[in-house]
Symmetry: C2
């Protein structure tokens, strides 16, 4: 059992490395947030650039310190509703610096906790949709 | 040691789940390839859509069955050279169905093996670069 566990452990280390490399290389802002508390558990350099913040300021911070859903009210509630909606539904929001962004969200469960994956692009929803028509 | 290993194992399972969710939600084609053999070890639904293939046809297949680097010669060599070049350098290629794509590559080491992460977009390099000016 110990040997099997170590073999699994090795395989899982590989997933960890792939996740880190993929996040670092992805130009879209990528943020993992607790769906229950709204606290950011991980994010990539592209997200830090959008927020204009350092990693240490973002990890552990509540998402509403970083993003504003405007008329949609609470950002965590708005994102959770968007994640439960039609596939590919996108939420317009603003960074706390006032830049317009578009957020695609995916709600999932990992080791007993609900998490939200937020994929964040510069610009409003319309300009993102017109990109897709190219 | 056993308890610590199990705790790590739980944490690593979380990375596995995050990697799968992120890949599934990412609209850019995402492929992990062995840098030594050119064999695809993982890819996402967006990559399958670009290749026009089923997952079982792609996992374990050599990358040159899926992509053609044209004048750049061997696709694996061209991607490895691109990964070693200037940060953010992109390689134009064609799918075996003849569609133009642009590939961003990242070379990294995981559990003793060199891997290439390929992030693949529809369209040629120029149109991708003009997007970035928005």
């Amino acid at each position: 059992a110990q040997i099997a566990l170590e073999r699994d452990y090795e395989a899982q280390r590989e997933f960890d490395t792939r996740l880190r490399v993929l996040m670092a290389a992805t130009p879209e802002g990528t943020v993992f947030v607790s769906a229950s508390t709204g606290v950011v558990s991980d994010c990539n350099p592209a997200a830090l650039a959008l927020f204009g913040k350092q990693r240490a300021e973002v990890i552990g911070a509540p998402l509403h310190d970083l993003l504003d859903a405007g008329g949609e009210g609470d950002i965590l509630g708005a994102l959770t509703r968007a994640a439960g909606g039609a596939s590919g539904s996108e939420l317009p929001a603003k960074t706390r610096q006032g830049a317009s962004v578009t957020i695609r969200t995916t709600l999932f469960r990992a080791t007993g906790e609900q998490l939200l994956l937020c994929q964040i692009r510069n610009g409003d929803v319309l300009s993102v949709r017109s990109d897709k028509l190219d």
